[in-house]
Symmetry: C2
Subunit: 130 residues, 2 copies
């Protein structure tokens, strides 16, 4: 085992070269969160998922799904038909993570009015002092 490999096993997100940080970035990345939470609702095909996660480009969705599949959170099942038919779903690890993300999002969505109010206060204080 090399030093780098050994370092990677000490799971501490605050450490620069830790593997957990890479995983965290895949999971909490802009599209990672949305893809995982969307897939928590069931099995989706590529374009159905793209319609669900509004605003994601084809490139980014493909990239995000590939990273999550490689990390073992997403299962990709392709039928070699023409036109291609690919189904994406969550693995058990993916479901565990997705449920935590869903909880986070619920808290955040409930807090949106408070955030909007906080932003208004902050901006007003800024413009008043400037």
């Amino acid at each position: 085992m090399t030093d780098a490999e050994h370092e990677a096993l000490i799971a501490d997100v605050f450490t620069v070269a830790c593997a957990s940080r890479t995983v965290l970035e895949h999971v909490t990345g802009r599209w990672g969160v949305l893809a995982l939470v969307a897939l928590d609702d069931g099995v989706f095909r590529f374009n159905a998922l793209r319609r669900r996660v509004q605003g994601v480009s084809e490139k980014m969705l493909a990239q995000t799904l590939q990273a999550l599949e490689r990390d073992g959170f997403v299962h990709r099942e392709a039928r070699p038909t023409i036109p291609p038919h690919v189904e994406y779903s969550l693995t058990s690890a993916g479901r565990e993570v997705a449920q935590r993300l869903r909880g986070l999002i619920e808290v955040l969505e409930a807090g949106v009015p408070a955030v909007l109010a906080a932003q208004a206060r902050y901006d007003e204080a800024k413009t008043a002092s400037a």
Copy 2:
């Protein structure tokens, strides 16, 4: 109320222009997560936080903290002394979010060995087929 403002109040992260998505990006952004979880351990000064969150640049930490302060998750207390003395801490809203993030990170850190194994399997399957 404009249409855009009304849209922003319908809290649904899957919608493009939703305010909750902006908040989600601040909270789950690369440095947002780490800053919030670090601050969940107590009060930190700017450079202490920077040492804690390894790899963050001064610019990004300042930017991240400003966004989180504006959203009402972080409290900034500055004493107008020279040299400047600024203390960052979490608000109650920030603590709620930070605790959920901490839970997520614990799951992710525990899953690191499984992720590494999944990545190895994925890469092997790829190189075998290529």
